[in-house]
């Protein structure tokens, strides 16, 4: 491992992720972002829920919490309220973040508490063997929809935008440098930042959907993910199988939760300590 970012890891590789699992690429992109930002790891907290994606906190050497399924954002909110001076990273999966944790997700977006969330989207419940998630695309197969999903799926970025998140971005494991840039930009934004990292699960998703080979999953992601500026110029027909990557929403003048709380305390206490 490169010495520049080796310091952000416990020395316990290999990780549990399967061969070619996109989550390792997300972890590497994140480490580059932290290195670029020059963060002191003792001033950082990394919090995750449950899932293959959430196992990431087992490898990161910061203050870490591997919490309960869907609840990473609630623990993170508690940490940030108690210690607003710390930098908080949250890692979640599409299942963890938008299914069982969906309600926490929308309220964290609306509340605008300063933290950086990386949602590792592999379109499936990877860890438990491949049940469909709210982000499994229409028609794709999972153990719980062996004939193809008839659910319309969530677009996490649109969901976050609608719920009022002040920084929403998307990137993917093919555009790994761009993913690092999005994490850096999200970190530098004061408020709730969410970055969807389009990842891959060759085992629980790919095997059921014609792409058991991680190289094919990578090629598909490369095809599908298009820079927002180029995406916006496409016709509706061309847009059908593409998704935009880049910063999708940024609002700089919304009140941030911990700052508002501090002001509230001062106001209620009349400025007295």
């Amino acid at each position: 491992m490169k010495p520049e970012y080796e310091k952000y890891f416990r020395n316990n590789l290999p990780h549990i992720w399967c061969a070619g699992c996109g989550h390792g690429i997300v972890m590497s992109a994140w480490a580059r972002a932290v290195n670029q930002l020059g963060l002191d790891k003792d001033q950082c907290v990394a919090i995750s829920g449950i899932g293959c994606s959430s196992r990431i906190t087992g490898y990161i050497d910061m203050h870490t919490m591997n919490t309960t399924h869907g609840r990473a954002l609630t623990f993170a909110t508690g940490v940030k309220m108690a210690r607003p001076d710390l930098n908080v990273f949250v890692f979640s999966g599409d299942g963890d973040g938008t299914a069982i944790g969906g309600n926490h997700f929308i309220h964290a977006c609306r509340r605008n508490i300063d933290m950086t969330v990386v949602l590792m989207n592999n379109n499936i419940y990877g860890m438990t063997g491949g049940q469909f998630s709210p982000m499994t695309p229409f028609g794709k197969k999972a153990t719980t929809c062996p004939y193809g999903s008839i659910d319309r799926s969530f677009d996490m970025a649109e969901l976050a935008k609608g719920a009022g998140a002040t920084f929403v971005a998307r990137s993917d494991i093919f555009h790994a440098k761009h993913l690092t840039d999005m994490i850096v930009a999200g970190f530098n934004h004061k408020g709730f930042s969410i970055i969807e990292a389009v990842s891959s699960c060759p085992i629980s998703y790919g095997r059921r959907n014609g792409t058991p080979d991680p190289r094919d999953m990578m090629d598909n992601i490369k095809e599908m993910c298009v820079m927002k500026a180029a995406y916006d110029k496409l016709s509706d027909e061309e847009k059908a199988n593409k998704i935009p990557i880049g910063i999708l929403q940024q609002i700089d003048d919304a009140p941030e939760y911990t700052s508002e709380y501090e002001k509230l305390v001062e106001r209620v206490q009349g400025g007295a300590k």
Binding site: M1, K2, P14, W17, G24, S28, A176, R215, M218
Partner: protein, 69 residues
């Protein structure tokens, strides 16, 4: 200006033989061993683009510019 040259290393015991580096390298630097693990067979062709490092999920490929050449 002299052409830059690079060291390309794969930490074999961490390699899970996913083939991503082999697939994505624009200069075909890697071969695969019998067990599928990546072997940097033609490091002299490496242009230092970093693609292999960026896309290895297992942190086991590293390229470094050779000094003093």
């Amino acid at each position: 200006m002299a052409k830059k040259s690079y060291d390309v290393q794969v930490v074999s015991k961490l390699c899970k033989a996913c083939g991503l580096c082999v697939h994505l390298c624009p200069k075909n630097v890697f071969d695969r061993a019998k067990d599928g693990r990546a072997v940097p067979a033609r490091p002299e062709d490496c242009i230092g683009c970093g693609t292999c490092e960026l896309h290895c999920p297992d942190f086991c490929v590293e390229t470094k510019e050779k000094e003093g050449e």
